[in-house]
Amino acid sequence: MAVLKKRALAEYSQVVQEEACSKPLQLMKKPRLSSLQLEDELVADTLERLETNDDLVAYLNYIQRKLPFHADDKVVLMRKLIETYHRSEQSHIRLKIIGIVGDFRKIPKFEIQLIINEVIKLLSMETSHKVCASMISVLSKLGNLLVCDSPLLNKIINIGMQLLNNSSHLVKCHCLSLLGGLSNTTNLQGENVKHICKFTKSQDPRVRTAAYDALLRLHDRGQKLELCVYTDVCSALQDDNENVRQSAMRIVWVLSHTYPESCVMIPGCQDEVHLVDDAFAKLCQAIGDLSVNVRTLAAELLGSMVNVNPHFLEQTLDKKLMSDMRRKRSAHERHWETVTSGEWASGARWADDKPRENLDAESVSLIHSGACGAFVHGLEDEFMEVRSASLDSLCQLALSNPRFATLSLDFLVDMFNDEIEEVRLKAIDCMTKISHLIVLREDQLEIILGVLEDSNVEIREGLHRMLGACRLSTKACLKICVQTLLDNLKRYSQDKRSIWRCLQSLGSSHPNLTLLLVPELLTVHPFFDMPEADVEDPSYVCVLLLVFNAAQFCPQILSLFEEHIRRHYRYLRDTISNFVPRLQLAGVEDMETQVDFDTNTNYFLQNVMSRLNQPTSTNQIKVWDAACNDLIRLAQIDSNLAHGVELLATQLECHILIAKVMNSPAWIDSSSLNAQDGDVVKNLIDQLQRCSLRLQYMFSNLSTEEKLLIQSTRLQAMAIQLVYIVRASNTSALALSDHFVSRVEALKGYGNLPSFAGCIVKEISRLEDTKPGVLSRILLPILQAHIYVAPFCLPAKAFKVNAEILEPTGESDNPQKFLAGFVLGVVLDAEIQCLAHPEYLRVRVKYPDLNAQLIIPQESHLKTIKQYAQSELNENITVVPEHRLRTSVLVSHQVWTESSHIELSLVLDVTEPEVPSALKRWRGFSEDSFIIELCKPVRVLVSPKPIKRGI
């Protein structure tokens, strides 16, 4: 009754409002426009009634926003629009109308032919160039939707050809792009191509660009460009307009990939070179271009020309130096000579770069001919865009040509010193990529290692990765490498893990070099017992990691181990097992136990599985409970199986909860409800929700069947909640049931669904009305039939998301002080493994007053770590995708009397996918239940100080 009254009141007040405001002026048009229904009378009326052009434009904008709508009389609307078109004298209105008519193609099942015919009709009468151009672009968009051989398409193409002779560049450009996008590429005998080619000679640079772009478009669509255009295009590389140069460069690049082997004459002499080489040289020249965009593009394109002659390739790094007409060697060459001659640069000579032999004035060529020095210039360019594109290309080319990789090394190392950090990082990354092709010399290594003192963590860690992946030539190299890394550790203790990882891969890739260093590193002496090092000393751990990882490939090292080192091995193997490999230490028995242990777990697991898959017994819950406990313990014991077992345990937990809920009478019957029972059920359902969400969002790398199984469990949980709300509470379940139905519908397409999901899908598709009441009536029997049905299997490859906060460590007792009401940035550094849904990752800050904040980390702060080294070393191990979150969490609070702990943790916030917007107001959800914790919270001591007045 009350509701009725309220509604009536609401309607009344609305009416009053409308009446009150509809009188004055045209301003009222707006509320009318925003009414959702767009009936054709309205359009007709409005379009005819609108008097001023501004109103018309506003209305047209409104229509365009509403597209694509599902009104019935779209055709009528179009007619009206076209009538308006004929009436309007202003070209911008006509332009707008054409835009709208073009957008009609977005309406499903709308007849495109109709639009096309209309537009063509209008086009023949149109005088404004802009409107013409927009019509052509509409036609070209529409033409894309037509089938290949339709006569209408030919008509459009013909129109495009005719209008090429239009005097406006805009029309020409659009015609060219139309031809490029629509021309038939299969049975065309190059006729259109020739015609388009002619327009590359147009006097308007915009038309020239459009013509080249059209050719490119044709190429993308499969039309082979003919070789004869090459000379023309090459001359366009000297065009005055930079856009033309860019498009021409793209064509040259395309041609070089299409006809790499054809021969081209070099002007001025009788020699012939391959087209790919010639094109390469041409693009190299463009690196000295006047425009940044052209230079960037040139640098980008060079990277993919991998089949160019190595001779040309090597030229790109060559720049003849001279000083005062005498040949001079570059610093790289000088360096190389001092290294090979065994003499070290004294560093105390003036002009040790002094020029040597005299050069013949005739033989020096000053403008770079061909590819000469292209990358030298590119890497020295003023703009970082060019430099970073050059780096990419250099790296790409080096990957395909080992000799070039060795040559490019010096230049890459030089780039470590770039002024812009991104470029430095990129240089390190490039180096990492090509590291398997090169062997580092000592002098080069020295320069590289200098960068380890950089204060930027990213740079240092990038370098650690690079060092881990590279190959060193001598024992001395390895030695300085290890020493510098230890220095690095002393200086920046937060790099510990990264350095460990680096030494791990260094050790395993250089076992023989390590062997030579072992006595020195471990201070083993043949006669004297040296003092035993402290195993908690980080730098000692570093050395041990290097040695242990080398020892797995070089058994001789094992014999050098003294007793305390064996002890340390066992300790480290226990504490940081993923850095320490398993070694076959003689006299240590843990090898055998390890093997036994393995079979044990497998056997145990099978045991549990078989118990699970037995036919249902009377106290099924107890069986599951026991199994669940077993599995959780098992996951703690065996790291190999942990992820899959945990998934299984979680699933099991869900089903235990489901069974518990269903067995309690209170969940469908609110009448018999005593308060305590009701709370118990409510709690259980809440737990079930959380558990099923964890199941859904924490695991990745699953097969489709496993995913469906999880989905089904989640559906079951949702169904239970839905039924509970309908039957046992008095809140509205409308939004919830809609959400449920949409979830079910999403499953429709899959074959062989698990039985519960299958049943639901079948039932729901039969259903016409999805009111909560009806739904719950159907769900109840299905639910009851599936209490104990849960086929369990072990998803062996599953990954569970796992986060670890490396910083802050939570050990500090010094409070971080800041002014109350202002913000404090707490540095957070965390590693997250197997994060399947980075978009839901949040940082949760809990204040002592139990306020909690969820902070979305900046996208750029979350980085995927590329693990080159590991994937290369052992390919059979699936590489776990790993994320690194390094951000600063902004904390703020009002003043406290003393310092207190706040808690930082990483969580997944799945409110967005799980709570539809209509549900947000519903009180049944505490926000907390859609938050999945990923790690234990870390406590940080902070103290907001009051603001000092006065100063």
């Binding site: 002779n165 000679k201 006047l290 001079k328 570059s330 003036w350 000053l366 360019d381 010193n417 003192e453």
Partner: protein, 597 residues
């Protein structure tokens, strides 16, 4: 009249005292007005009497200063205040800000230290600067009704610019000093394809191709770092402005990156003032500084502090920048005396040293140096030479020529022998003329006279439309334009005939020729016409043959009509054409004759 005359009053086959006189289109323009640092007599200033005795305002239209180095602007106050010139002077904003600081400093040294008389005063500098008009990059400035100048980025020092000077149809680009490779605080020189008649380029490094800058920088940093690590003191003698800033930025960022704590001192009095200007003119610096200045202005040095003389004896590592650059006097020499005996210390010379100075002696490896008061210093500290020069090398010069595509090149600001080589190369590789006049010698560069004609826009559009409708563009097809050339008030204009006649108040007369051909063609007249149309179409692709009603064929202004005569197969063909299509008509007649008659 069409020749351009260039006379270097300084910097012709020489470095220092840049001053180039440019005469073109009846205008006299002075490019730079520098002084020679090597002389103390009247030779240090350009010989202004060459231009005129006494007041120069009459004979000069404007003066353009490329950058603030004294060899490019040092003589300016002398010229404006003492010789007398009150015309416009152009320079960029940073140059206008920094040049007076340098001028004042030089004046102090000359007057107060060396006790010279007859030198300009501070007031003169002030008055001189009042006459300066500051320009922005890429801003076109109209000096008078004919002279137009435009500044481009030169990258040599802050505010260095190249100037494009245009008088009428002739134009000259003067580069000043420029640098084609970017450095730590400035970008590279850039110019668009302006195709001037002459490019006047500096050629300091005409015979050098330089190595990548990165190696040098890395070496420099590594050496400083090593020295600081072992607790040594590093002395870097610098000239006041320009390279000092680059080295500061280099060290500052390195300190930041490597998290170093050793202090860096800066002991250059006048640079502090200049540093403020560096902070202000961020738009003139390179990409990195421009991008990051919102967070932190790179010239707001965190690690670099002003030097106090008491610091010289403080123990522990430090890096000190001190003037002068050649160790011949002042603070740098004092510090050198103090620090030289310790082998842990290091001296880094970032630039060239004139022979005879302490710097040059030390660089050439002398272990014992004698100073002015017979005091002998033992040099145990390590001595390094690092060249950080901001001039374009030979490749850079060639690249600039390629960028702006001049018709002639004129080399200044370099040694004659080296220029000779570059001149050859330019002629050989670009095929353009190259000049290198010595001081006081004039180079006359001939230019093709250009006669400008104003074309009326409507005519141009009409003809364009005609051209466009014919078909795809074809560079080989000539495009004729029909119009009337009108000479009036010394201006040539190409106009539409109707307009021209209207303007001149004349009646238009058209001449048409008519001719008659007797042909032997069977069939009716209309069939014959079709046949002729076919023939013409097959032979002629450029002009479409349009049949009109009443059986007349039209081809441009040529119309062809056929009439049957009494005899069956004899037809008389009448051709009529206007004067402008004489050629076409002749061609039609002859071709028809060949085929049919």
């Amino acid at each position: 009249m069409t020749d351009i005359k260039v006379t270097p009053l300084g910097a012709g086959q020489d470095v220092g005292r840049s001053c180039i006189l440019l005469q073109m289109g009846g205008k006299n323009i002075m490019l730079d007005c520098g002084m020679h640092m090597g002389y103390n007599d009247e030779r240090r200033f350009p010989d202004f009497s060459y231009i005129a005795d006494g007041n120069l305002t009459e004979s000069l239209d404007c003066v353009i200063i490329s950058h603030f180095h004294l060899d490019h602007c040092g003589a300016l106050p002398f010229m404006t205040e003492m010789v007398g010139y009150s015309g416009p002077i152009y320079m960029t904003h940073p140059t206008k800000a920094i040049a007076p600081i340098l001028l004042e400093d030089m004046r102090k040294v000359a007057v107060e230290r060396k006790g010279e008389t007859n030198f300009f005063t501070s007031a003169h500098i002030k008055d001189c600067m009042k006459k300066v008009i500051a320009v922005t990059l890429h801003q076109t400035v109209q000096v008078d009704s004919e002279i137009e100048i435009k500044a481009y980025y030169a990258g040599h020092v802050l505010g260095a610019a190249m100037f494009h000077v245009k008088v009428g149809n002739q134009s000259v680009v003067y580069t000043g000093d420029y640098n084609m490779t970017p450095d730590r605080h400035l970008g590279a020189a850039w110019i668009d394809k302006c195709r001037p008649n002459i490019l006047i380029s500096e050629s300091t490094y005409a015979t050098t191709i330089r190595d990548s800058k990165r190696c040098r920088e890395r070496d420099f940093l590594k050496k400083v770092h090593d020295c600081v690590d072992r607790g040594g003191k590093v002395l870097i003698p610098v000239f006041a402005l320009g390279r000092a800033q680059e080295l500061c930025i280099l060290l500052e960022t390195y300190w930041e990156r490597m998290n170093l704590k050793a202090p860096i001192y800066f002991a250059v009095g006048l640079t502090e003032k200049a540093n403020n200007y560096y902070k202000m003119f961020i738009t003139w610096t390179n990409q990195k500084i421009r991008k990051t200045f919102v967070q932190r202005n790179m010239f707001d040095f965190k690690h670099i502090r002003p030097f106090d003389k008491s610091y010289a004896d403080t123990p522990g590592p430090m890096v000190v920048f001190a003037t002068p650059g050649m160790l011949h006097a002042g603070l740098s020499l004092q510090l050198f005396k103090k620090w030289a005996p310790n082998e842990n210390n290091m001296l880094i010379m970032p630039g060239y040293c004139v022979s005879g100075t302490v710097g040059a002696k030390v660089l050439s490896g002398a272990k014992k140096v004698e100073t002015e008061n017979r005091q002998v210093i033992e040099v145990k500290m390590s001595v390094q030479y690092m060249s950080f020069s901001a001039h374009a090398d030979a490749k850079g010069i060639m690249q600039l020529i390629q960028y702006c595509e001049p018709q002639n090149v004129l080399l200044v600001h370099g040694e004659g022998v080296k220029m000779e080589f570059l001149k050859q190369k330019i002629q050989q590789e670009y095929g353009i003329d190259c000049y290198m006049p010595a001081n006081g010698e004039s180079a006359y560069i001939p230019c093709k006279p250009v006669v400008p004609v104003d074309v009326s826009l409507s005519l141009l559009k009409k003809e364009m439309a005609l051209y466009d409708t014919v078909g795809a563009p074809d560079p080989k097809r000539p495009c004729r334009m029909h119009g009337v050339l009108v000479m009036k008030d010394n201006v040539l204009r190409l106009m539409e005939p109707e307009k021209a006649f209207g303007e001149l108040g004349l009646n238009r007369h058209a001449i048409r020729f008519t001719s008659c051909l007797q042909l032997r063609l069977p069939g009716s007249a209309s069939r014959a016409m079709d046949q002729i149309q076919l023939i013409l179409n097959s032979q002629n692709t450029n002009y479409p043959v349009k049949p009109s009603e009443e059986g007349v064929l039209n081809l441009e202004s040529v119309s062809i009509k056929m009439e049957s005569t009494d005899k069956e197969d004899r037809k008389s063909m009448m051709i009529s054409w206007a004067l402008q299509d004489e050629d076409l008509a002749t061609w039609i007649m002859s071709s028809l004759r060949q085929v049919i008659v």
